[in-house]
């Protein structure tokens, strides 16, 4: 069907929230302090051509060589990771450390594992390259109804170009938080499949605290079953180029997802996230909230948020937003929300995106109240990012992230 016609039909009547954007975005005086604001209901968004119809393949040879002009690559510095899109990848096992937890298993499984390919398939060449390359998949399998938290750490990937595959499965009615903690150096392209059985309640946190030189291209594919709930969190702080693209299919009736993102780009860093939510079942609900800060010369962030409300998805409710806070000159934040609606029967669909600047006038105002420059920056950034941090739901991780953010601010992060 034509996405454009679906949009023009829906945009005028079924996008209630977007006509009243959140207080802070609607009142930012456009142009003052360099604030750019985007929030709409009637105009302003560019629909993707039916996102669900994008070409998919697990075979790298099915994709043309990457030029950087493709929709999925056009914001990324593709010349800096041709090894990951065009080279041969090492798909062997690597060292992982995981905290022990009852009812959670972490093991290597063969490519023939039945779960592989059930949550999603690659839509671009780096993902397909990784898929073609991996020898075994790392499988994290969660069962048991008690809440529990497990951290899986990768710290020794090194500089060899790698392809990897991970499965995170939450059995029906199970509950857990799985933290994927990434540190050290890496040149990695990977796919992560996240499978939620009926009524499972799973939080997945992908935490990027890579070394300065690391390049990480990740695609997360999630499939959320009936009445299941996925909280997915992308935290990108360290790394040279970090691109984590979560793609969530709300596959079962009543399924629910909260997609959170937190990123802090400093000088020279490229942090990107392309978020896709596919409402493919009735009464499904999604919320997307990504917030980023940028500081330093050539700090660069990209957020693309696609929401597709499919024709099976009657009674859905969705809202996505991205906000960026610019802390210095020389940065660039792209923020592109897309909404595509194939059914007229929805509870709500809206989006907002705004990029605000912390500027000298704000600094002067805070200082004129006795607050030091350093404290002023900390106040603003903490205030801005806390909303996301607090929703993660892991007190220990939240406390750690507050410290990590402050370290980013004063440039003392030892990356």
């Amino acid at each position: 069907m034509s996405a454009a016609s679906a949009l023009s039909k829906s945009a005028s009547k079924t996008v209630p929230e977007s006509t009243t954007p959140t207080a802070d975005s609607s009142t930012l005086p456009v142009g003052q302090h360099g604030i750019k604001e985007h929030s709409d209901g009637r105009f302003g968004y560019v629909p993707v051509q039916t996102r669900s119809a994008r070409f998919k393949s697990v075979n790298v040879a099915d994709f043309e060589a990457v030029t950087g002009r493709e929709a999925v690559w056009k914001h990324s510095p593709v010349a800096k990771f041709t090894d990951l899109t065009a080279g041969a990848l090492d798909g062997s096992r690597y060292t992982v450390e995981s905290t022990p937890s009852a009812d959670v298993s972490v093991e290597w499984v063969p490519r023939t594992d039945a779960r592989i390919g059930t949550a999603g398939l690659p839509e671009e060449r780096a993902a397909a390259n990784a898929w073609s390359a991996f020898d075994e998949a790392l499988a994290v399998t969660v069962s048991g109804e008690e809440a529990k938290e497990i951290t899986v750490t990768r710290s020794g990937l090194g500089t060899i170009a790698r392809g990897a595959h991970t499965i995170i499965e939450a059995k029906p009615f199970s509950q857990a938080t799985v933290i994927l903690h990434n540190t050290g150096d890496a040149r990695l392209s990977e796919n992560v499949e996240i499978i939620l059985g009926e009524s499972a309640n799973l939080t997945v946190v992908s935490l990027q605290e890579w070394d300065d030189s690391a390049v990480h291209l990740a695609n997360h594919f999630a499939s959320v079953g009936r009445d299941a709930r996925l909280k997915h969190v992308v935290v990108s702080l360290g790394g040279s180029i970090v691109r984590v693209n979560p793609s969530v299919r709300l596959a079962g009736p009543g399924s629910d997802t909260l997609l959170l993102g937190l990123y802090f780009a400093d000088a020279g860093q490229h942090l990107e996230q392309q978020v896709y939510v596919f409402h493919d079942a009735p009464r499904s609900r999604s919320r997307v909230n990504y917030k980023g800060a940028l500081q330093g010369q050539d700090a660069r962030t990209v957020w693309i948020g696609d929401v597709l409300i499919g024709n099976k998805a009657a009674g859905t409710d969705s809202y996505e937003q991205n906000r960026n806070l610019v802390l210095s000159e020389g940065t660039r934040a792209d923020s592109i929300p897309n909404l595509e609606i194939e059914t007229g029967d929805i509870v709500g669909a809206g989006h907002a995106s705004a990029t605000g600047r912390f500027d000298d006038e704000q600094l002067f105002y805070l200082q004129s109240r006795g607050i030091t420059e350093e404290e002023a920056r900390r106040l603003v950034v903490r205030g801005f990012l806390t909303e996301v941090v607090q929703q993660i739901g892991s007190p220990e991780l939240e406390a750690r992230l507050q410290l990590a953010i402050e370290a980013e601010l004063i440039g003392t992060d030892d990356k």
Partner: protein, 254 residues
């Protein structure tokens, strides 16, 4: 007894057309507990004086000095001036994304006092001050000045004045853009602050109407970057009747 002295202050700004002289020798002494009104036409340099006292980096002091109890203010950072006891209620208060009023007030109070205020009394003080200024409770959780109306921004400035308890406050056109009800509420706040702390006030205004509610001890007419005339409250009445025309004789017809 605190005193704020401004001595032969010359200030310029950089513009696209080059350096522009704004203040041309301002002299003014304010003692604790005194209210000085500075009145002058638009563009005469009133805000420049206010910003220079607060230390805005855009304004270059060419010569002169500002002393607070004998200590040179001009060499202090902006935040140090606030901690030394100076406060500026701005003509155009700035929006701060991501920072709630509550968080902002507590951080500022902590910075100025050098230690966090005792939580229980602080919360009570903030509530009381907000009630006095007829500010809705929901203000506390909104981001500083974000989406505030003009009147709400001005109340928020006076809220800070009452809570931060400076020795000297400069109020830059706090009255402009306020309807009469808001003007009364804001004026009450200023008078309350003075009654409670005995601060000295520099009240910058274009119109005389705020002087009905806040009674100055001294009135200074500010024209072309300096004080052209000074007197008591009666000078304000004269300005009310005659306007500024008398001071604007075109001396530099060219």
């Amino acid at each position: 007894m605190s005193v704020l002295e401004i001595k032969d202050l010359h200030v310029s700004v950089e513009t696209d057309q080059g350096t522009k002289q704004i203040l041309r020798g301002v002299n003014l002494t304010i003692n604790e507990g005194e209210i000085h009104a500075i009145m002058g036409p638009n563009g005469s340099g009133k805000s420049t004086l206010a910003y220079t006292i607060a230390g805005h980096p855009k304004y270059h002091v060419e010569s002169g000095s500002i002393l607070l109890d004998g200590a040179e203010v001009l060499t202090m950072t902006v935040d140090a001036r606030a901690r030394a006891g100076l406060f500026l209620a701005m003509q155009y208060p700035v929006e701060i994304p991501g920072v709630t009023v509550t968080n902002f007030l507590r951080t500022a109070k902590t910075a100025i006092e050098g230690e966090a205020p005792p939580i229980r009394t602080w919360i009570k003080d903030v509530r009381q001050a907000m009630t006095n200024l007829r500010m809705d409770k929901t203000f506390a959780e909104r981001n500083v000045n974000e989406g505030f109306s003009g009147g709400e921004k001005k109340r928020n400035e006076i809220l800070q004045l009452e809570l931060l308890k400076p020795k000297f406050a400069v109020l830059d056109e706090t009255d402009s853009g306020l309807d009469v009800d808001a003007l009364k509420i804001v004026s009450e706040g200023v008078n309350r602050a003075k009654a409670n702390t005995g601060l000295g006030l520099l009240l910058i205004t274009h119109y005389t109407r705020i002087l009905r509610y806040i009674h100055p001890d001294f009135v200074h007419v500010f024209v072309n970057g300096k004080i052209a005339e000074q007197g008591g409250p009666e000078l304000a009445d004269r300005l009310e009747d005659e306007g500024y025309d008398r001071f604007l004789v075109p001396s530099n017809v060219g």
